[in-house]
């Protein structure tokens, strides 16, 4: 049985589960503890889905597919803590440790641990070996001289909220006006023809694109939130496929969703989301993306069943 660790709001899991054998999957929503019971002990474990009437144990689990075990309903945590935050942190750590244990036993499917994580800085350094990369700076305290020329956009390193309903999305900025007492990440603006996103699935790719002018050259998420549209599938050249595989081989990831800008026929690297959302690209599975991902999970799961180690 495949164990999926996620949250109740993860539509990508809703969609991929349709392509998996539902009877052979247990979905754990970390934000719905009332729907679950669990017991990890020295002889094994049992996790129950009280709503669906299913359970998974050390005897029946064959794979762990990590999705999004996170909490969307944020709470105000008092300075000295509170019960709800305690509950969340205890649960999160237990299931994180369970994931690491499953990884050490070779039981994770598609998404590996981030023990050798490539964050934004490492990605940009590695990308230099495979793609065009626009100049960038992570800086604080003093304005780098290069930022006095050209056009730049500011980007976030994390998804941390700045305030109530306020997120740092990609925005054009004059670096000279930035308050240097904060840490900043800026990159030279790329005026390309289209934005290209590529889902990499263990050696296979699924690419889609949208014209750059459809969202004004800034964060594509903003315009898509305002006016949801789907991105049509597009082709990649042999060289582009080779570059993508080279990046994944170098970083060690087997799954992820790239963001690029295509300019004058070349891919300019923006970032890789190693466990991001992807099902929105083919919500009804009309182009087979969901099947590609589900098949990759099932393929690894078959291998786990043939070599049980739990």
């Amino acid at each position: 049985m495949i164990f999926i660790s996620t949250c109740s709001q993860d539509t990508t899991t809703d969609i991929v589960m349709k392509e998996l054998d539902a009877d052979d999957v247990l979905r754990f929503n970390i934000d719905k503890p009332e729907d679950h019971a669990w017991d990890f002990h020295r002889d094994g474990f049992r996790i129950a889905d009280k709503i669906g009437g299913k359970e998974i144990t050390d005897q029946t689990m064959t794979s762990f597919y990590l999705r999004k075990p996170m909490y969307f309903d944020r709470i105000d945590v008092p300075k000295y803590g509170c019960e709800e935050n305690w509950r969340r942190e205890e649960t999160k750590e237990l299931f994180s440790d369970f994931f690491r244990e499953c990884q050490s036993r070779g039981l994770v499917a598609l998404v590996r641990s981030q023990s050798n994580k490539y964050g934004k800085l490492r990605q940009l350094i590695a990308a230099n070996n495979h793609f065009r990369v626009a100049p960038w700076h992570f800086f604080h305290g003093e304005l780098p001289d290069e930022l006095n020329r050209g056009r730049w956009v500011v980007k976030p390193v994390t998804g941390t909220a700045v305030g109530k309903d306020k997120m740092m999305l990609v925005r054009a900025v004059d670096p000279a006006k930035l308050d240097l007492s904060y840490p900043w990440f800026v990159q030279e603006r790329i005026d390309g023809e289209e934005e290209v996103t590529v889902v990499y699935i263990d050696g296979r790719t699924y690419a889609a694109s949208a014209p750059r002018d459809s969202f004004g050259g800034e964060d594509s998420r903003k315009s898509l939130m305002e006016n949801p549209t789907s991105w049509p599938r597009c082709a990649l050249s042999t060289d582009e496929e080779r570059a993508i595989k080279g990046f994944m081989d170098e970083t060690g990831y087997r799954f992820g969703r790239f963001d690029f800008i295509r300019k004058d026929g070349e891919l300019w690297f923006l970032e890789l989301n190693p466990n991001g959302q992807w099902a929105w690209l083919d919500e009804r599975n009309e182009n087979g993306l969901v099947t590609m991902v589900a098949d990759a999970i099932k393929s690894e799961d078959r291998a786990h069943r043939e070599n049980p180690s739990l």
Binding site: D10, T11, F72, D73, K117, K164, K166
Partner: protein
């Protein structure tokens, strides 16, 4: 400029079409890259 002055106010951004980023149970914002404002970046590993 400070982060607060540059950040985007996302309240209401998801009200068009199926992009309601604040819907907590139905998660109707699947058309959004990242499935919402923070799902891509959230560190759900370690």
């Amino acid at each position: 400029m400070t982060p607060n002055e540059i950040a985007t106010n996302i309240a209401g951004l998801g009200s068009a079409g199926s992009g309601n980023i604040t819907t907590s149970t139905s998660f109707t914002h699947s058309n959004i890259p990242g499935g919402g404002y923070s799902m891509d970046d959230a560190n759900t590993w370690d």
